[in-house]
């Protein structure tokens, strides 16, 4: 990053964190130049950047001010899931989503797909297409079950940004983050074992627990700081938990980044109760703040954290290349990978080596972080505009998902049914819970270019919500005492 971009990032983070609030005057150009020992013109450039991002506005003769951000909706409530290990249900709803290929006649606002239309992704298509050129047969061969060495080197290098100092030998390339999670779970736990999870939790993880015959113990989670350590400790005291599985960075679906201090405390807890941790970092590189947040893995000194990730969210879902840094469980994970899908395809691995090596990955990341942050703001604004006033909305710090909580009796399954013939679909909240909680919540993806068509779709969802609420209160009135 250039100096001015770094400075702009620092300032925007402070605004984000509320250090400077809306309408407040920002430090003068001179003051900043002294504080950060940069030139006047660097500060000016930084402010210009923030202006473009619509975060600050200049006022004649009095300097820069924090822009009035659209009024924020309230945050979702701290979750209160069932307080005992349960078997997971909801497979039918998940199958419904994952079975259908992308459809032209349906706007799937709920699917976890990144935007793949940015020009910064074009070099990836080129790299994929180049691999097999000139009769190069490497892409048709088996490589090691651990993955192409050169790719593991590149991944190890990228992971430095999250504070992890690993080498290629400590990594295994997987078929997406799914396989990372699945092999990690199977390496540590047996069917019947209890796994503590943040809640709400990505439905793929829930279904994996189900399919492996494990039980989920959902831990209450705060929409800004993540899994409740207090509740987790109580659970560790009470149940024979084998593993803690969570997504602390740019959580799906809530979007929070767990503060560093809490990450450390969680690790200490895990050490005290001697349980392993699966850390899903699949959105970690998409944090809007710079430098990106550290992983729990980066504090791990006894190999109990299995870090899982992939290029599915940062680059493209169709690649199916992920990785796991399994700590002390490396060999067991290798076995689980061998028996699950065998080796991972060679060609996309080779293409990724080229793509990353030439700096395209970091360039694309920079672009997407900025885009997603802008989209978050616009989508939040639309929700405020078209949804009922009392909805609660998450404030994601990275990634591209918004979690929306409606009043307690609301049924998003019914909402989706009503939206069906309007060509719109959201992700229903219940698939993010082992026990089918969060029926009154939904997840909306703001990765794509936010076109007028999408605005219209959001409007349709808002209207449908209002209709359902009216119908409901009408029924409620009909049921008044005395009837």
């Amino acid at each position: 990053m250039t100096r001015y971009a770094t400075l702009a990032a620092i300032l925007s983070q402070r605004i984000e964190q509320g250090l400077y609030s809306a309408g407040e005057r920002l430090p003068s150009i001179r003051a900043l130049s002294l504080e950060h020992t940069v030139s006047i013109s660097t500060v000016q450039q930084a402010y210009r950047l923030l202006e473009e991002k619509r975060l600050v506005e200049p006022r004649a003769k009095s300097g820069y001010f924090v822009r009035n951000q659209p009024l924020r909706a309230e945050l979702p409530t701290v979750t209160r899931p069932v307080q005992r290990p349960v078997e997971i249900s909801q497979w039918e709803q998940v199958l419904d989503i994952v079975r259908s290929p992308p459809r032209d006649d349906l706007l799937q606002l709920g699917r976890g797909m990144p935007d793949i239309t940015e020009p910064t992704l074009q070099p990836l298509l080129k790299a994929l297409s180049n691999v097999g050129r000139h009769g190069d047969l490497r892409s048709l061969r088996y490589d090691s079950i651990q993955g192409v060495f050169g790719l593991r080197e590149q991944i190890a290098r990228l992971m430095l940004d999250s504070g992890c100092q690993l080498d290629a030998e400590q990594l295994i390339v997987t078929t997406g983050c799914h396989e990372a999670l699945s092999t990690g779970l199977r390496a540590v736990c047996q069917p019947g074992d209890i796994v503590a999870v943040d809640s709400p939790c990505y439905h793929g993880t829930m279904q994996t627990l189900k399919g492996l015959g494990m039980k989920a113990l959902e831990i209450p989670t705060d929409p800004l700081t993540g899994i409740s350590l207090e509740a987790l400790e109580m659970a560790l005291e009470q149940w024979p938990i084998k593993m803690i599985l969570l997504t602390p960075n740019c959580n799906n679906p809530l979007g929070y980044i767990m503060p560093e201090a809490r990450k450390k405390r969680l690790l200490t807890l895990a050490q005290r109760y001697d349980v392993a941790i699966i850390e899903d970092d699949v959105y970690g590189d998409l944090a809007y703040s710079y430098p990106r947040p550290r992983t729990i893995k980066s504090f791990d000194d006894d190999g109990r954290v299995l870090l899982c990730s992939s290029f599915s969210k940062t680059l493209a879902t169709g690649l199916r290349i992920g990785w796991i840094a399994p700590g002390r469980y490396l060999e067991r994970v290798l076995h689980m990978k061998y028996i699950g899908s065998g080796l991972t395809a060679t060609q996309p691995q080779l293409a990724l080596v080229e793509f990353i090596r030439h700096g395209h990955y970091l360039q694309h990341l920079r672009r997407m972080r900025q885009r997603y942050q802008q989209n978050r703001d616009l989508m939040t604004q639309w929700i405020g505009q078209y949804f009922p006033a009392n909805v609660r909305v998450s404030q994601p710090r990275g990634g591209f998902m918004l979690w929306i909580e409606l009043y307690e009796d609301f049924d998003t399954l019914r909402l989706n049914r009503n939206l069906e013939n309007q060509g719109v679909q959201v992700a229903v909240g219940s698939i993010f819970s082992a026990s089918g909680k969060y029926r009154n919540c939904m997840r909306i993806n703001y990765a794509p270019k936010l076109t007028a068509e999408i605005e219209l779709a959001i409007k349709k969802v808002g209207t449908a919500i209002n209709q359902l609420m009216e119908a409901n209160s009408a029924t409620a009135e009909e049921c008044l005492p005395g009837q």
Copy 2:
């Protein structure tokens, strides 16, 4: 196939089956022309083809004769594995093989890789490279968890050749045959369940059973006709078997094709005892006879057969595209796939649609079948030449593997250690058994172009075997009674 090629195939099959034996006179050109209602010149062309293949030789004025084939080694013995369900060992040896990427300094005669250097495979590289051209983003997207519909259509069409009439909805694309086997097993069986397998059996399957906590019951197997139905029936009577898992066509490692009548009887047995069957057909398309052998699946009328296959052996190992036709277990298999690796990469699927649609798959198959058959004969000849006289050698009817049985006390692990500094490695027999049997056996891959370098390697293996045998008998003498 042209008429003459068809006729040649029929004749060579008859020779293969011993209908015409070495030195015997073959039917006259006129007789064949009448029998098959083809022209004289077609028969002449057919004989010329067989001559090129060194199967027949013309003798002046007396017609064509079956060539004296090099004296055949004896077949491996019918296997006698342990007669109870066992947990699988041998992971370390398998890991050794699958962990290392292809090495230039080591000739791995044991790995299951097809030859990928034939020009008929070039269109695949081109198809892979074409997918992402012109900014086409389909390859970066998720598709359905069931796989790209167009590819499933093409696979369904190809499966007609094995007698299977399925449609795209009954197929699931998988990450290699590994994932097909693994999801199939998990869809039907629980940890602790007993699975009956042909023995020897592909080590990947063995390790899958191990990793899933299932027990293998190894059934004696005949090197020409496959799994013993008599032994299988006894086992079904005696144990609560949940599943029969076998590779009836071009078996790895034995190379046999199970006769059709036995396939039907096996299915009847499975119906009687109400167990499911996993049929691994990964080499089925590489049978040397035409038309290719039928699958057990093709006789299945109540959806109990889960057919598993992939393009790893017919095309290229690095692709990682396979499929499963799971019969009545489709939805369970989908769930297991979703939790194991999620969706399968899109780009290779799209490339394969193009490759198959343009006829390149069948063209490549024709080429490879012929090549592998020739290689089998040459490799068998080399074994006869360089190995001790009393080794037993399989007579593969398809695929590209030779199974070699040495005298009972021989230790192929030791052999491999001795070969290490000579840059040669074979696959040790023990990894093909749940209980570590077959230490006196090894598998050799004859897929690659059989160059002088490979001949030299075989010679080295032969010499090393002889040395070990001499050392052994010396020790045996030293240990004579009285010492």
